[in-house]
Symmetry: C2
Subunit: 508 residues, 2 copies
């Protein structure tokens, strides 16, 4: 048995044991552990990691002395041990949780403003490309990335991944082109997979990616299932699916920066129904002892985000025109954080979902923010090498990223409790501190004009309060001092698109 | 009795008589005429035009010999006469009618593509400004203008009009500013009007305007009632209203280029209810013997455009974001021409309805056109002299006008029957000839990409048809030859916003 005698809070303590490697250890054997201290007790499933090695992973949430015991199908008796938990690394703030109903914070109370991007299968590309992606992320304003555990078969995604999750042989991909691309409804001939025998290397690599992201302060929003498939991974039976969910949870749940996305476009998977999703959710709720954030991403039909196991909305827009403008409606409907994981991507590919301008994407970000939610990023620029950020990662080419950084700076300077929509100013898209109720005279107000271009604005909130007015150009990323106003405010604007105003009550 | 012995078809034949001028001729007296030929018979109400003159107006729809008889409260016996109707002036195509359910044509069969603008009270400004407006219209692509019969009290519209429709004295306007501007719910003190005694000069002037517009090929979309009022004209009683409607119809209905807009923002008039509008509509249907186009324009709540007296939708958008994109839905709902008379104006004033860019307005035009409807124009640029096109006319300053001209050129080159939305190409905003049913292989197809910026598009309609592909830059107003394509079409695009494609079947 191997384990470290100390670990930092919110890092992973792993216990590993030697065991049998014959037969099919993934189905024939089991291992589990119990970890306890004065403050918490957790019983956790372990997993087989290949080469006769079995592991149980635990993430402690408290400092101090811990004990554990491990039992397994191949052990005659429990094994026991103890370790101590040191203070957390300053860069590790713990798991992200829902805070103040519509917003998020890390376990240690540090505010978390969701700023995600999507690179569906970045970790299954060449090593050089993966490093490029990580370098891009390092320099980006992103603190979350959505990606898949299974490989992806889709336009711009016909090549095989660097590794597969199962042992076996994939269908020959060499002849697949955009012309004969099929959305498979059944298992294509030529696949030879054992859906009960995992390829541990595939998962080990994802773990290394999760760890590296964690050190960069980036949440790994893991997409556990998806429909873009030519290998049959989307069409396994219930027993195979359950084996997969158990394995995924046993391997990944101890990483502090994991989020669960049950599926991308769940409703585009013909082999799965609502009962399946609710079943996977129940597995997650019982097996993930840390209760990481959980959601599910839609294609055409929204999942019912009121379901109690869902911690936040992970929305793909269903209208090409009115998108982030529905954020306030979705807050009302679901009473949870509204994260617009797919609101169309900056790019120029042939699809509407991947061909909006940076200006339009940034506009959607501001519309979402000033309605108390969070738009998220993606990029789909055609390139000669076939590398598109949205699927493969690589270099960021767009103009939205810097504007997103600017918006998140504005949000970080704003109220700690986050923003809620404010209807106290007629016909304006405005936000105030999310106290749960609309103040008559807000202490902070962010007003966004979008594609409207007023040359001035007149407001009158009350007669006593002094407001510092800042004129924000959301595209040029400038903040201009608009002076201190009281009573009727006449604010001159440049008559340009994409302007915003920030009113801050002057503290005397 | 005076009348011309000949008139051209679709021009006005007027019979005038001397009569009493004492008492109140508007209520004490009446006059009516009957006009007949081999082809038509019409009985028409006349009106008192001041100075002891009474008139009856008739617009003949056929060439040849006509007879008429006139009777009046002050005549002992009918007066009779005859005149001949000559062929129409080539510039006068007759009344605009609904054609092919969703489109329009003049009485003579000439296609009419609605291209309107709005200058609410242009004809009540100074003479010099009126001439400037007419000059602007002459050089514009507009063939319809919406304007009011009553003067307007609203932001940017506080000065008195050059004439009033009634005899009396208006409230003093000199102290009205944007700060003390009130939306009056009752009659402000200081008004002294006789709502039963018209000021004929006010109406005579409007007639001269209608005539001049007619000679320019421009339809006069008359707004008969509206809520922007400090004189009580929006709050008259039923008897006064009826007198007004009779008078307006008697004076204006004989002009071929008149359309009736019962109201602007009918639902913003607190003194009027649905029963009132239906009553005015019934007056119009019985008194206007020519059945000019009739509609009513909404504020927040759509009128039920399915009402049989309504010939076409005159829509103000109710959403700041998704606007012209609803055109196909409105076609489905109302089964009538969809005219988006107010879809926000190009400008920079403080209101959302008056501060969109030319690019956004033109985008809305194309969205409407490619869904089988018609967006319309308005302009609200702040200016030092306080003249805004939307209310006063004057000079056109915006960038949308030339792009509207370009779009209407494209539409005029398109199918004679107009366009209908085409759902034969997945996820595209596309239009084909409005034959009432969607063809598998259209002979003409206009596809619009709006703010999406695809770098290419692949289509496959069938394997046999040759299509001439034209690549249209709707903003730069260019049409580029994209070559002839057959079978799978791979069309390279510039990856810019506001592009369109036109596919035309090549005739062998």
């Amino acid at each position: 048995m191997e384990f470290a005698d100390s670990v930092r809070k919110w890092d992973v303590l792993e216990v590993s044991l030697k065991g049998p490697s014959d037969g099919n250890p993934f189905t024939d054997e089991w291992i589990r552990g119990k970890f306890w201290s004065d403050n918490e007790t957790k019983e956790i499933e372990g997993f087989y990691d290949g080469n006769g090695i079995y592991r149980v992973r635990f993430m402690p949430s408290f400092e101090g002395g811990y004990h554990f015991s491990v039992s397994a199908s191949f052990l005659d008796a429990e094994r026991q041990g103890a370790f101590s938990v040191l203070g957390n690394d300053p860069s590790n703030h713990g798991i992200v949780r829902v805070f103040n109903k519509f917003h998020m914070a890390y376990e240690d109370g540090t505010r978390y403003i969701p700023s995600g991007t999507t690179c569906y299968v970045w970790e299954m590309q060449s090593r050089a490309l993966q490093e490029e992606t990580l370098n891009s992320l390092e320099e980006s304003p992103f603190n979350k990335i959505r990606f898949c555990i299974f490989p992806k078969h889709y336009v711009y995604n016909f090549h095989d991944p660097v590794s597969f999750p199962y042992v076996g042989k994939p269908v020959d991909s060499s002849a697949i082109t955009v012309d004969n691309f099929t959305e498979y409804k059944g298992l294509p001939e030529g696949n030879e997979w054992d859906y009960k025998r995992f390829n541990p290397e595939h998962f080990q690599h994802i773990e290394r990616c999760i760890e590296r992201l964690g050190r960069m302060g980036i949440e790994a929003d893991l997409i556990v299932m998806h429909p873009y498939d030519r290998w049959g991974f989307s069409m396994m039976d219930r027993e195979e699916d359950d084996l997969y969910w158990h394995y995924v949870i046993a391997r990944f749940a101890a990483y502090h920066n994991v989020w669960w996305s049950l599926a991308n476009e769940y409703d585009f998977m013909p082999a799965k129904g609502l009962g399946d999703w609710e079943h996977y959710a129940s597995l997650l709720c019982s097996l993930d002892k840390y209760q990481h954030l959980r959601s599910i991403h839609n294609g055409r039909h929204f999942y019912d985000y009121r379901r109690p196991w869902i911690t936040h909305c992970s929305i793909q827009k269903t209208d090409h025109y009115r998108t982030a403008e529905n954020t306030d409606l979705w807050r009302e409907m679901y009473q949870k954080p509204v994260i617009l994981d797919e609101i169309a991507y900056e790019g120029n590919i042939q699809h509407k979902w991947g061909s909006i301008s940076a200006k339009e994407l940034v506009r959607r970000y501001w519309e979402a923010a000033c309605r108390g939610g969070y738009a998220q990023h993606g990029e789909t620029y055609l390139s000669d090498d076939g590398i598109l950020w949205w699927a493969h990662g690589g270099k960021l080419k767009g103009e939205s990223v810097e504007r997103i950084r600017f918006l998140y700076r504005i949000l970080a300077e704003g109220p700690e409790k986050g923003l809620m929509p404010y209807d106290g100013i007629h016909d304006e898209v405005a936000a105030v501190e999310d106290t749960g109720s609309s103040p008559k005279v807000p202490s902070y107000c962010l007003i966004y004009f979008g594609f409207f271009r007023p040359a001035f604005k007149d407001y009158h909130l009350d007669d006593e309060t002094d407001y510092q007015v800042d004129i924000i150009d959301t595209w040029e990323m400038t903040v201009t001092d608009g002076g201190i106003h009281r009573g009727r405010m006449h604010i001159v604007l440049p008559g340009k698109e994409y302007m915003a105003l920030r009113l801050t009550r002057v503290q005397l």
